[in-house]
Every structure is written in C-alpha cells, then in structure tokens.
Symmetry: C2
Subunit: 363 residues, 2 copies
Amino acid sequence: MSTSKTAPAPGIAEHKAAILRENRRVTSYDVALVAGVSQSAVSRCFKPGASVSKATYARVMKAAAGLDYIPNAAARSLITRRTNVVAVIISHVANLCHPEALSELSQQMGRHGKRLLLFTLQDEADAERALSEVWQYQVDGVIAVTTLTDAQIAEFERRRMPLVVFNRRVRGQVVNTVACDQYEAGHTLAARLAAAGHRSFGIIDGVENNAAPSARRRGASDKLAELGLPAPVIARGQYDYASGARGLREIIGHLGRTPDVVLCGSDIMAIGCLDCARHELGLAVPEQMSVAGFDAVEPSSWLSYNLTTLRQPIQKMAMAAAELLTKLMDSREGEAEKRMFSALFIEGSTARLLPPPNVFLAA
Amino acid sequence: MSTSKTAPAPGIAEHKAAILRENRRVTSYDVALVAGVSQSAVSRCFKPGASVSKATYARVMKAAAGLDYIPNAAARSLITRRTNVVAVIISHVANLCHPEALSELSQQMGRHGKRLLLFTLQDEADAERALSEVWQYQVDGVIAVTTLTDAQIAEFERRRMPLVVFNRRVRGQVVNTVACDQYEAGHTLAARLAAAGHRSFGIIDGVENNAAPSARRRGASDKLAELGLPAPVIARGQYDYASGARGLREIIGHLGRTPDVVLCGSDIMAIGCLDCARHELGLAVPEQMSVAGFDAVEPSSWLSYNLTTLRQPIQKMAMAAAELLTKLMDSREGEAEKRMFSALFIEGSTARLLPPPNVFLAA
DNA sequence: TTGTAAGCGTTATCAA
DNA sequence: TTGATAACGCTTACAA
C-alpha cells in the first residue's frame, strides 16, 4: 500500500513497469491510457499548432513525462513522408581537406530542422554503393561533396530526390550546385603573378580525374596563353605534403632550372614545396622563386609560412547549400541553380607581387 | 498498341506511370502485382537468407528493377526495431581538432552495416538539445565525442540506449569509454624532459572545464612534484595558434625569464609558441628553450616545425569504439568497459631530449 | 516454398 | 476540441 501523500499519477509507475516487463516501447497509446484521453489527442499534443485544450495538453504532457514518452520518428515519417534527414555523401579526402564543411553543413541544416546522415567514401569513385543505401533511408534530400556520374545524377531526377552538389563541377548537367569558381581563381592568380613579371610557371596539380584543381590549372594556363607566355610545366601530386617537394624537384628537372613561380593545387602541397625549396634546396622565397597555394587552410597563415593563396568561402557556401536544398525540399521543383562563389586572394609573403626593379628599367 | 517484339514485362511501364500519376511511392505491393506473386514473397526476396525459389526471386527482382523499387527503411525499422543508424554527438571543436575521427568512425561503423546520424554542437555544454532529438530518431546506439552530465548518462541507462563515450573522461560513471590516457601522457612527457635536465617548466593549458588537457597537466605536474622540481608556470589558451604566442609571453612575464621548456595542450598552440619564440623573440629552439605539443596533427611533422609531441591513435580508437558499440547493440548488456590507449611519443626536434654536457660535468 | 493476415507507432480524415 | 478509424510500407508467424 502506497503511503505517498499526493499520488499524482494514477498507476503511472505500474504502467511503466508493465511496459518494461513486456519489453515493448512506450507508445502514444500508453500515454493516452494514463492520461485518460484518446491516442489521437496525444498525437496532437506533439504536433506544433494543433488544436488542443490547455487541460488536455497538461494531462498528456504529465503522463508523457512520467513514462519517458518520445514520439517515434520512424512511424511518423511513414505517414508524413518526411524524415527530416538529409544525406551527405562526402569523400574521405574532401572531409580532411575541409573539415569545417561538414560541421557547417550540419549547423546550417540544423537551423532548418534537418539532421545529416553521413556517407563517407574511401574513394570518389565509390558513390554507387552509398547511393543504393541512400534510397532506402528515405532521406528528404542529398548533399553530395563528391563527383557523381551522369547516370547517378539521372537517378536522382528519376526518383525526384532533391540534390545539391557541393564544391564539385558538374559538366552541363541540370543540377543544383554550390561551388567556388576554380577556373576564375586560376585565371586571376596567373594574371596577378604575370603582372609581377613572372614568366616561367610551374604547376603542381592534383590527380587526373579531380575536377576542381584541373579547372584551376586550365584557368591559369589559358591566362598564360592569352598573355603569350610559355606554357607552364606541370607535375602531378596527391595533395599531400610530400607531393609538394616531389613536384618541385620534377619541375626543376624538367625545366633544367628553377621556375619563376610554382602554383600548387593545394596549400599543403605549397607548404611542402616551400619547405623543400627553403630547407633542402636553399632557395630564398620569394626572392629567388615564388610559391602560391590554393584552398587557404589554417597553417598557411602561420608565421613560418604566410602563404600566398586563395580562400574558398566554405561557410558561405554551406549556408547557400542549406538554403538551396531547403527550397528544393519544400517546393520539389525549380530550375537547376548554380551558385558560384569567388575565391578570395590572400597576399601572404611567398610570392613576389610587384614587378622587380629591372622590369622598370627595361620598360 | 505496342509493337515491342519481346514485351518482357506485362504492363510494367503502365504500372509505373500509374504510380507516378497517383504521386505515391513504389511499394512491395506494386512489385508483387507486376511479378504476379504475393507481397510477402517480395519482402522475402529482399531479406538475405530467406527461403525463396529461384524462379520467384528472378521475377521479383526483374519487376523491382523495372519499377525502381527499394525497400523503405522507415517501415522496416518500425517492425524490426532496428534502424541501422548510430547517432554521433560531436562538438564543433572536437571535429575540427580531429577531423579524421568522424571519418574513421563512419568507416568503421559502416563495416558493421551502420550509418552515422550527425549531431554537431556549437558548445560542449549544448548536448541536451541534441539528446532530445536523438531519442526520437530511434537510433540503435550513440557515440558521444563530447562531455555528458551524470543526468544525461543516467538517461541513456533508463532508455537502455547503448552508449560509447569517445575520448572524454567520465568520472566514476558506469559508461563504456574509449579514450587515450591523458594523465599517463602528461606524466611520461614530463619524466622524459626532466631526465634531459629541464628544470623550469611552463605549461600552456586549455580552457578550464575541458577534461583531457587538464588530465595531462595533472600528469605532468604530479611527475614534477614527484621529482622535487619546481611547480610549472601555467597559462591558459584556447587551443588556437594565437594562444601559443600569448601563453609564451605570459609565462615569460610571470617567470621573469625564459623557461627551460614549454608543454602545450595542443600542437597548434605549440606551433604558435614555436613561431613566436623563433620569429618574434629570436630564441633558438631547442637550444635555448624546448617546446612540446600534444595531439600530433599533420603540420607538426612538417620540416619547418618537426615538433616533439604525442600522437593519439585515433584510428585504433575509432575501431575500438565501433567494436564496443556493436557488441552493446547486439547483446544489450555487458559490464561497462573502458578501453584506454596510450599516446605515442614523437621525438621531433623542438625539445632537447638528452642531458646537456654540463650535467655530465657536474655529475 | 508460398500466401494470408496481424501487427509496428504514428498522422490524417471526418464525424460528433 | 475530441475520438474512431483508416492509412503509411514493411516483417513475420502461421497455414496451406
């Protein structure tokens, strides 16, 4: 016999014990039973803006709290056809390269009430397997931070799955994209350095099939051609520190001498190139050779480097992607939109940005 | 009238058109209708190891492919009580500090057939809001890369939700934990440096309430006390580059001279400290002062730094967390287990690790 | 091996 | 404002 003086909840503890004993979940039915209302009344209490009387609401909430009841999202999504989950397909390297991207996307989608379901790819070519899982989870939309084939993009269309491609170029496809204009960035950088009197260019590029760096390289090469300068010497790298040193040696070997400037496909390679030039080859940078990076990562601003580079506005891009996807999910339509952002030039001190004195003399 | 010569699928196209018209999802019912079998037969075809004849399987799969049918995970989880989703609660800083942790956790849980649902926290104190959402999603388990209160941990217990805390200390609670032994790391580092003859220690620590760095500091302080050396001078930092320089100036100011060695709560602070010492104060490192970091991040290995530091085996830890959580999810029981990993000492070249000559003379 | 039928836990519709 | 009842799309006994 209970001696509790208030006995606030009639049988609430027994009810809970029974549920535990039967090893089942707490449902809106249990809450209804305890609160003495119908199950649909309980459901309404958890729907914002539904019409419920204050008294009912209070009783239901009390019962719910006592039973630790939480609505089951799976059951809800079955009928509402909304999961409030967005899939993010991101390659391992993309995540390491821009760790803030995922964080930002998560924060931004969170503001729209969506959570991220993560699909990480060992390899950019691996998207297929992730996709077949994505369809099962009935997500409301997808953000792809990886390259997709035309067939894959077509499947999104066919399944009417809202898609935003983040920071990858999609050639001529009707897809929503948020990206940084890599071609423009390469173009601008080359122009700026050529203006400072650099003539022989080396480029340490990324791997063959990666779109972003190759767009940059084309931008730079096009600008050099336009200016009538010799074509750059190109080395391939893997975006890592070691590639920078390897690339520099390769370029010097091919050219027979030090180039005026080396453009690197990533900051990490630029830093590798810089360290090799200074500590192993004994070159003064930027006096004897200029080095420029891409993708301003944090270390590029450190005193030992202070790299000349370009920053992608990842935060703004994440915000744009979240907005774009939300619009798509709400309306299920809309023309394909491509939001392009410009990279921001960071002067740094590893590239000579003014013409050397003798250029003035020659002029 | 169709003139197709094979007519492989009887009415499959019309069926699909009808579904599209009615704006509903493709269900196992549709597949059953097209394949001429029962709905449960379709279900069985998608359940690995169920008993289906080859002929039925083939017809079902053909129909499914024609209709782009994919089983609905929400409906499935409603009955199976498994979502194959694991929530990860991670603070913004934790993700930026160890971007590979999330990637590794995703890869490792993927090998167990689980996907990660991401909850990022602006602030470590913010877990409460994330949790109330976690319960709704009916995830199979949770990995917390953030600090949890006792009440929060108790709620996991109450809801019988499998939980693994990653790389955070949980004082005296019965929780499954995978972590790196920070106390031991601090202890070892101090011992090693003291053995090399360093006597006056400075420590640039993290923010007050963060457990990991303070455990390290205690480890180091305890060892110094044990050896009868003077207590270290402690400065507080925010784990960022600027904090390293600020901390160093503070220590020097407090001490009235340069300390023998500065232990930093993170590599980034150590690098900031190092750059400040070399480029702003003109100190030779390690000749005039030693600097050591923590949490070996990639830049610490670069030629310009080559930092003396300790590496946490994040990959191994992620693997252990995935295993531990999987075991919990499968069995729903088991004692609380704490898997401790040791940090790996990286010699680098920013700390003097051998006694200076005059020590030999004095001995 | 196959089909029938009963859930899983919600939301949505419609009378009352 | 409320309560009955019908979905939502699947898995799983159980019977055939």
